[in-house]
């Protein structure tokens, strides 16, 4: 097999997009399931429509954006700690 970007492999952008849209479809189905299943919950907010879905989505957004900010703060060169020992 040759090296380089593969157009058809599981690591191609095309596969990525297919997986992404399938995921979107499954999420939609899960949101629908919320309408049909009576949820047994501890806290009131858990009972809101697709609370867990929205929470998961927002968690990812907040986590990634915060981590980008964190990177500005704490990222250094790879040899940051090795420099003294040279």
């Amino acid at each position: 097999m040759t090296t380089g970007t593969n157009k058809r492999g599981l690591d191609s952008p095309r596969t990525g997009r297919i997986v992404f849209w399938w995921l979107g479809g499954i999420c939609a189905l899960l949101a629908l399931a919320d309408l049909f299943v009576h949820k047994h919950v501890h806290f009131g907010f858990e009972g809101w429509f697709t609370f867990y879905g929205v929470f998961g989505f927002l968690s990812c957004f907040v986590l990634v954006m915060a981590a980008r900010g964190l990177r500005k703060l704490v990222m250094r060169d790879e040899d940051y700690y090795d420099r003294d020992y040279r």
Binding site: M1, T3, G4, T5, N6, G9, L10, D11, G16, R17, V19, F20, L23, G24, I26, C27, L30, A31, A33, D34, V37, H38, K39, H40, V41, H42, F43, E46, T50, F51, Y52, G53, V54, F55, G56, F57, L58, S59, C60, F61, L63, V64, M65, A66, A67, R68, L70, R71, L73, V74, M75, R76, D77, E78, D79, Y80, Y81, D82, Y85
Partner: protein, 566 residues
């Protein structure tokens, strides 16, 4: 003979057998290494539940062996993890690693069954001293330094434990390792010692610093024992300490931000380990039967899937020579089985239904909700979702998929595949059939993980999160993998404190120079003064003529006579 074996603490067979490893060579050594966990496990099973061995040493009563349901959970999983890790590391010919791996496991097991604080201390330190060789065995400058930092911190934790024990003994007269609780200086010190080993926030960084520097197999060993020993110790000594809920909640939340931006995938897994410990610590803090069951169950499952993830990344490191996200990608072509096992580990840690994390983490989260800790509940939910990002998606995605890095290598060797396969099988098996695990938990379990609500809410949480990840990746909002070092609390002792010490030294040197100058000046003056008086020309150094001397003697005599008459 049977009496001697019965008086040996569980795990001691591994310690003694581990020391004999260098005496056997080649195939026989492999057989020996595989046999040791099995024999040690049978030895453990030979003790009845509730067994106590007490001995008197000087005036103190020690309990080197205590077998009960809490310690047994750890005893079982430690043996299982040891066996799987030995299979994984069958290719290792390095005697140092083989001896240190096995003795380390033995020390951890013996520590779990310690019924008094002195025995605990002895094996606590032994785990530190034996395990550091797994880091040093990488034989690089980096690993040497990381190992040194690891050793200092681990031994420091032991020293705190000993200090706390001595003070506790003075205050209460007891060495028993039961429920301690916060409040006195002694127990507070013991709590701190446990907290260091458990990687509490700000005391945590030895973990992310050292584990990724260990050898391919060393990290798998390390991931299972040290921190879970600390979890056990906390569960034994500080169950129901409310502060632990907040410590645990913090532990679940903050490492996941670091995990997003970390490039070394074994370091990502170390941050993830820290996050998983947080769940267990929350369970201990709540302190109900349900939550303590959750902690024990989660420790059990966690050891397996975390070992599986470290095994898969170890296999990648073994074959490609790197585990940096920025260098990897598309490895599923070369290592398809490893990729599958990694995904099983990822699904388990993400608590996907039908995988082990699902049936253990939910015990803790349910206990949190039962206790009406709303804030803790919401943060745990956020942290559960966050696990999907770093361990669930990032680790398998960036190494095996993402983009084709061009790396072509062989699949992991058969023994590694076997170890990963067995571990993956257990992760799925426990996820589908949780009852056998529930039966060995410390308290009776009345919990059904597979309800419609639980499955649907969990799937929503995980898949919407994954969808958002996909979206951000498509929109190029997701931070790319970059070769980098991220500053964490280790910066304090690797940079800030040495810099501060240097500054203090510089100031001290300045003052010393000035003080020495002043001193020199004074000494010179003094010497000059003495020279003036006693030197060749000095008043007191002159040689007097006899006449002068006689005159002076006559004057003194006259003065004497005068004073006498008066």
């Amino acid at each position: 003979m049977t009496e001697i074996i019965a008086s040996l603490p569980p795990g001691s067979i591994l310690i003694l057998g581990g020391l004999l490893v260098p005496l056997v060579r080649g195939r026989l050594q492999q057989v020996w290494l595989l046999a040791l966990p099995v024999v040690s496990f049978l030895h453990l099973l030979s003790f009845p539940d509730g067994y106590l061995l007490q001995v008197h040493l000087f005036d103190y009563e020690l309990t080197p062996i205590r077998i009960d349901r809490l310690s047994l959970v750890w005893g079982y999983i430690y043996h299982l993890a040891a066996f799987l890790t030995v299979i994984y590391s069958l290719h290792v010919r390095d005697g140092v690693q083989n001896v240190s791996g096995i003795t380390y496991v033995g020390a951890a097991i013996a520590a779990v069954f310690a019924g008094d604080l002195i025995t605990l201390f002895v094996f606590w330190e032994l785990t530190a001293v034996t395990s550091v060789f797994l880091i040093w065995a990488s034989r690089t400058e980096r690993s040497y330094r990381a190992g040194m930092r690891y050793l200092i911190i681990q031994v420091g934790s032991g020293v705190l434990l000993l200090a706390g024990t001595v003070i506790h003994l003075q205050q209460t007269g007891s060495l028993a390792f039961g429920h301690l609780g916060l409040g006195t200086l002694g127990t507070n010190l013991i709590f701190l010692a446990f907290g260091i080993k458990c990687a509490f926030p700000l005391l945590h960084n030895w973990l992310q610093d050292s584990y990724p520097e260990a050898t391919v197999t060393g990290t798998v060993f390390l991931s299972a024992f040290t921190t879970k020993l600390a979890v056990y110790a906390l569960a034994r000594g500080f169950a129901g300490t409310e502060m632990l809920i907040w410590i645990g909640v913090t532990m679940t939340a903050f490492p996941i931000f670091y995990a997003v931006i970390e490039n070394d995938l074994r370091r990502v897994l170390s941050y993830s380990l820290n996050n998983q410990l947080g769940f267990m610590v929350v369970g201990i803090g709540i302190g109900t039967e349900l939550s303590l069951n959750g902690t024990a169950a989660h420790a059990f499952c966690h050891i397996l899937y975390k070992a599986l993830l470290f095994m898969s990344m170890g296999a990648v490191l073994y074959r490609t020579g790197t585990v940096k996200g920025s260098e990897l990608g598309g490895l599923y072509r070369s290592m398809p089985l490893t990729a599958v096992f990694c995904i099983v580990g990822a699904a388990s840690i993400s608590a996907f239904p039908l995988f082990s994390g699902f049936i253990s983490k939910s015990l803790i989260i349910t206990a949190t909700a039962d206790g009406h800790y709303v804030v803790a509940f919401v943060v745990l939910l956020f942290a559960s979702a966050g696990v999907v990002e770093h361990a669930g998606i990032k680790v398998p995605y960036f190494s095996f998929f993402s983009h084709d890095s061009g790396i072509r290598c062989k699949e992991a060797p058969p023994h590694m595949l076997l170890a990963m396969g067995l571990t993956a099988f257990l992760c799925v098996g426990i996820g589908i059939f949780p009852q056998p695990l529930y039966r060995i938990l410390p308290y009776p379990v009345d919990y059904q993980p597979y309800t419609a609500t639980h499955v649907i809410t969990q799937l929503q949480l995980l898949l919407f999160f994954a969808f958002c990840f996909g979206l951000m990746n498509l929109m190029r909002l997701y931070p790319p993998e970059l070769r980098s070092t991220n500053l964490d609390s280790d910066w304090i002792y690797r940079r800030a404190l040495p810099a501060a010490a240097n500054a203090v030294l510089r100031v001290a040197r300045f003052f010393r120079v000035r003080a020495v100058d002043r001193l020199e000046l004074n000494i010179t003056r003094f010497v000059r003064g003495v020279y003036r008086a006693h030197g060749p020309e000095g008043l007191w150094a002159r040689t007097w003529s006899t006449g002068n001397t006689v005159l002076w003697v006559a004057i003194i005599l006259a003065a004497y006579l005068l004073i006498y008459y008066l």
